[in-house]
């Protein structure tokens, strides 16, 4: 047994508290149940599987028990004591989120005792919660505020600090920490340590001095934070937020000399509607285009175009690596890792710096877009690139860090000026008073608005892999991918399983298309791959990425993979740290569905069939994918950061 396994088994993976509710065996299938327990909640009878928490049991009866430290994605903590309920026969109240039902019981969820306790605990939390609701970005979307209203908080019973006791940490390009608003629910801690296994935030000190802190109290910009922003999505208050550039963007829009261009990633369009009251999973792609134009953006482009371009470059890079290894018998780093997710990239740079060679040298679609805008587009449109401001609408907080990496200036200018999250754009739209859901739809601007379904599915975990396979399989085998994968759907790489693995046998060898012939050194066909088994894997969430990396280090099955997709955020980009709050498995599933549904409506679902991609290789990147010019503009290098910070 490896140490890792040992640690997991003994629950040493941190978390007192946390592991508890899940340690009781819960039967998944009602038919297989050994034991059903009869309970009564607020006068309603119910039978639940042995080990169900009171909170989940109440949900089945549509009884709402308020929660604060509880989050579906996280281990149970049971610390805020807002979800307390009365269990008959017990002197003390019990935390509904943490109490597993193992024997028949009668529960009251809103007795006098319960309501008084909840109110008191809210009163206590409000004591040191410094900040006014109307100057907070979470105004109207704050769990503490909602509870304060629901429990009738009309004055600060035990006082209320007005002077901040912490400096706001603005050191990070991505995440702003305002600990004055922190209520110590530790969702961020559980997100950072348990869910993402990054380990930047932890509770320090004890008693009333308890704080959530970084290592050696260093600014967030100097620690091993990967900027994934998952903590922001799970913070119940405004203590964590993204670094908002909208003021600067508004200023650029107002500036008549500036040509402001926005590119939009696939995930925001499937989620931003949530900020306007639409149910999760409502796609508003074309309405959003109109909204952005009305906000004053001069051009609205689709990042999916460079997603298609990424596929061309990254698939070519993979084929080059395979050729080098199998034909030229050279030492090449394998597996090739995707590099679209800046959170994942920084994770690797910190925790697995010895593997930077495995990372694809391709920039992310966002950064490719930036350099294309300030070169090709500028030239075509006849605009001086110094007057172009590129904004990237992203589901992501790490993209803000990425666009500020010093190496991302290959156009001669800062390739992407601002990374803007879905939440921040929603705010901009709200400022204009536009009614997003009811705007007339409009299309993206040409030519960089042209994109395929392959680019669109980048937003979901497995999407990059699926898009890459659709192109690579067709090129390598010379057979239409849809002949191999029914409806072009590559199901094994889809879905929310933490790590997905797939093998594909190469049934035939096609000719090397002219566009790739230079990159592949004049190779005629792909016969060197015929009969070979291509092994690929997909991991989302850095905790899963860590599992794969540890397996690779140990020489396990993933070390034999050829290509692995990694996304820092659970669910992929649609669950990104810049997406609307709240998040949950259901919400992410709905967003995924929206993306796959929209994909079906597109004229093409294979990146290499994108006419704009064709055009750019004809007009601009004339030496083809992975050629000299594309290397200059579309590829990058990485920094071995390591995780020693003192």
């Amino acid at each position: 047994m490896s140490n890792n396994e040992k640690n997991t088994k003994f629950g040493s993976d941190r978390a007192p508290a946390s592991s508890v509710a899940s340690s009781v065996e819960v039967a998944k299938n009602e038919k297989d149940l050994g034991a059903m327990v009869a309970i009564n909640i607020d006068g309603n009878d119910l039978k639940v599987p042995f080990g169900t928490t009171i909170l989940d049991a109440a949900k089945k009866l549509n009884i709402k028990i308020p929660t604060l430290c509880h989050h579906e994605d996280l281990k149970v903590a049971g610390v805020c004591r807002v979800c307390v309920v009365e269990v008959e026969g017990q002197r003390t109240l019990q935390a509904a989120c943490a109490y597993p039902i193992t024997s028949p019981m009668s529960i009251k969820t809103y007795s006098q005792k319960v309501r008084k306790s909840r109110r008191h605990n809210l009163d206590l939390m409000l004591k040191h919660h410094v900040g006014e609701c109307y100057s907070c970005f979470r105004n109207n979307n704050c769990e503490l505020q909602t509870l304060a209203k629901e429990y009738g908080v009309d004055h600060y019973r035990f006082g209320h600090d007005t002077e901040p006791h912490h400096d706001i940490d603005r050191s990070s390009y991505s995440v702003v920490r305002d600990m004055n608003k922190c209520i110590q629910c530790r969702r961020c801690v559980r997100t950072c340590i348990d869910l993402q296994e990054v380990g930047v935030l932890e509770a320090v000190n004890r008693g009333p001095d308890l704080d959530i802190d970084t290592f050696a109290s260093m600014p967030l910009g100097e620690v091993v934070c990967i900027n994934c922003g998952q903590c922001i999505n799970r913070c119940p208050t405004g203590a964590l937020r993204a670094n908002d550039p909208s003021d600067e963007i508004w200023a650029a829009i107002e500036n008549p000399k500036k040509h402001v261009v926005i590119q939009t990633a696939p995930s925001p369009r499937a989620a931003i509607g949530e900020c306007f009251g639409l149910p999760a999973g409502t796609s508003v792609t074309r309405e959003l285009n109109t909204a952005m134009r009305r906000c004053g953006f001069d051009k609205v482009f689709d990042t999916n175009f460079t997603a298609d371009l990424t596929i061309m470059e990254e698939a070519t890079e993979l084929l080059i690596r395979l050729k080098k290894a199998l034909v030229d018998k050279e030492q090449v780093a394998f597996p090739q890792f995707t590099s679209c997710s800046p959170g994942w990239v920084k994770f690797l740079e910190h925790f697995y710096p010895e593997y930077t060679d495995c990372l694809s040298s391709c920039k992310s679609p966002q950064q490719m877009f930036g350099s294309i805008i300030k070169t090709w587009y500028a030239e075509k449109a006849g605009i001086d690139p110094k007057d172009i401001v590129t904004v990237a609408l992203m589901p992501c907080s790490a993209k803000k860090f990425e666009c500020n990496r010093p190496e991302m200036q290959d156009s001669g200018y800062k390739d992407v000026d601002y990374g803007l999250t879905s939440r921040e754009l929603a705010q901009m739209i709200q400022e204009t008073g536009l009614d997003l859901p009811n705007l007339p739809p409009s299309d993206f601007d040409d030519p960089i608005g042209e994109a395929t379904g392959a680019g669109l599915i980048f937003g979901a975990t497995g999407g990059v892999m699926e898009a890459a396979l659709r192109t690579a399989v067709e090129i390598v085998t010379g057979i239409k991918t849809e002949k191999i994968f029914e409806n072009l759907d590559i199901i094994p790489v889809r879905g929310f399983e933490g790590v997905k693995y797939m093998e594909i046998k190469v049934p035939a060898a096609g000719p090397v298309p002219p566009i790739l012939s230079k990159a592949l050194g004049g190779l005629k066909d792909f016969s060197f791959l015929k009969g070979a088994t291509l092994k690929v894997a997909v991991a989302h969430g850095t905790a899963n990425a860590k599992k794969v990396m540890e397996d690779i280090k140990a020489g396990g099955k993933f070390s034999e993979c050829h290509f692995i997709e990694f996304m820092a955020c659970p669910g992929g980009c649609l669950g990104g740290g810049g997406q609307p709050i709240p998040t949950s498995p259901e919400i992410r599933a709905a967003r995924t569905q929206a993306i796959y549904a929209e994909e079906k409506t597109l004229y093409s679902r294979k990146s290499h069939e994108n006419p704009a991609v064709d055009l750019i290789y004809k007009e601009f990147l004339k030496d083809g994918p992975c050629g000299h010019k594309s290397h200059k503009l579309l590829h990058t290098h990485y920094t071995k950061r390591g995780c020693k910070i003192v």
Partner: protein, 396 residues
């Protein structure tokens, strides 16, 4: 040293080696049944029946089980375990061996508080001596299939680690923050294995019970609170020290024994216990009335009870682990309230609100610390309200 002249149970003479060896001749169920029949309840303060705990740990599934001695004695006013650890260590270890035998554990751990580091050397020597006598290690007392050994784990200064799940968290290398319960340590304890955590005094008492019989033990105490108990007596009395007295003794009688007859109040159960005023001195110390893990603090007629309350509340602010809201912020809020009282600036309305908050802490805190933190505040405010208001008048 003990101040008790009569050697009742815990201080009665015993040949440890002989007692242990003969106890190990009993079957496991017989051993636990003897403890059950004695009615022994945990001596740490919570008062959970020892035999029930052992039975649960014995019945729990697991290849590996643990017996942990909670020697993190930190309740203000408690020091009886220090005496036992110093002078009766061999009895303690023998009691742990019995527990290991009863629940099927091979590993025992003494969680010794950092403040008692000076006891460690002698304790190690006792363990070594017992290993030499084959009372620890493999084939104890010639039993082929029974092995048990004990090691010492030092605490690092945290009162909360006296709470059994916090203690386990601490052993596992975490912050000493209590877990959600259920599951209880008897099923999911140290390293996820069934674990019985018992107090020092409990182990020693068991050794005596098994050697001398449940019936003998039950001849002391009351029906619901059987046997004798060690009391750590301090404060305003002539003869502070450790006393062994039968359960069910009245506070009045106890005060006579220790020379504290003129007391105006007695804190029973330490900072987390209750403050009993003079008018209630007929109350008895037992699980069914005023319960204690052994701490008895006597307050003489001249004591300022508000100062006492402040001292207790400062203790809790310092020792709260801080994970749950009512304890982290409630202790702080009550302390601020006491300061307001001290300055003569607390309205009666706000005082009532604070008492109500205290009740919330009692029912909604995650663990025993937070649940008992307001006890002293509530009982002192209730019983000494006029003293507090009379002595602190702003128009003075």
């Amino acid at each position: 040293m003990s101040k008790t002249d009569k050697k009742l149970v815990i201080f009665s003479d015993i040949d440890v080696e002989k007692a242990l060896k003969s106890a190990l001749q009993k079957s496991r169920p017989d051993l636990i049944n003897e403890v059950r029949d004695s009615g022994l309840k945990g001596r740490g303060g919570a008062g959970f029946p020892t035999a029930v705990k052992w039975n649960l740990a014995a019945a729990a599934q697991g290849d590996r089980k643990f017996v942990i001695c909670n020697a993190d004695e930190g309740e203000p006013g408690t020091f009886k375990d220090r005496l036992l650890l110093t002078d009766y260590a061999d009895q303690l270890v023998a009691g742990m061996v019995l527990a290991g035998y009863a629940v099927g554990a091979k590993e025992g751990i003494i969680y010794l508080r950092a403040e008692y580091a000076y006891i460690r050397k002698d304790l190690e020597a006792t363990l070594e001596k017992m290993r030499g006598k084959k009372l620890l290690g493999k084939k104890i007392a010639g039993k082929d299939n029974f092995e048990f050994d004990v090691h010492i784990h030092m605490g690092s200064g945290a009162y909360i680690c006296g709470e059994e799940t916090a203690l386990i968290e601490s052993l596992e290398g975490h912050r000493g923050e209590p877990r959600n319960r259920p599951p209880f340590p008897v099923t999911v304890g140290y390293l996820g294995c069934p674990t019985s955590v018992n107090n020092v005094e409990t182990f020693i008492t068991v050794l005596h019970i098994v050697e001398k019989g449940a019936k003998w033990f039950k001849s002391y105490g009351t029906e619901k609170s059987t046997g004798t108990k060690l009391f750590s007596v301090s404060g305003d009395c002539d003869k502070p020290g450790v006393y062994e007295l039968p359960m069910g003794i009245s506070i009045k009688k106890l005060l006579e024994t220790v020379g504290g007859e003129d007391a105006k109040a007695v804190q029973v159960g330490g900072a987390s216990g209750t403050c009993v005023p003079r008018k209630d001195f007929d109350r008895v110390i037992a699980y069914e009335d005023v319960s204690t893990g052994g701490s008895i603090i006597v307050f003489g007629p001249f004591r300022d009870m508000l100062e006492v309350a402040v001292n207790f509340m400062e203790f809790f602010c310092d020792e709260s682990c801080g994970q749950c809201t009512p304890c982290r912020l409630g202790t702080e809020t009550l302390l601020e309230g006491l300061d307001m009282l001290d300055e003569g600036k607390c309205s009666l309305k706000y005082l009532r609100e604070l008492c109500s908050l205290g009740e919330t802490m009692q029912v909604s805190s995650k663990c025993g610390l937070g649940q008992s933190a307001p006890n002293a505040f509530l009982s002192i405010v209730e019983n000494f309200k006029s003293e507090i208001f009379d002595s602190r008048c702003t128009c003075r």
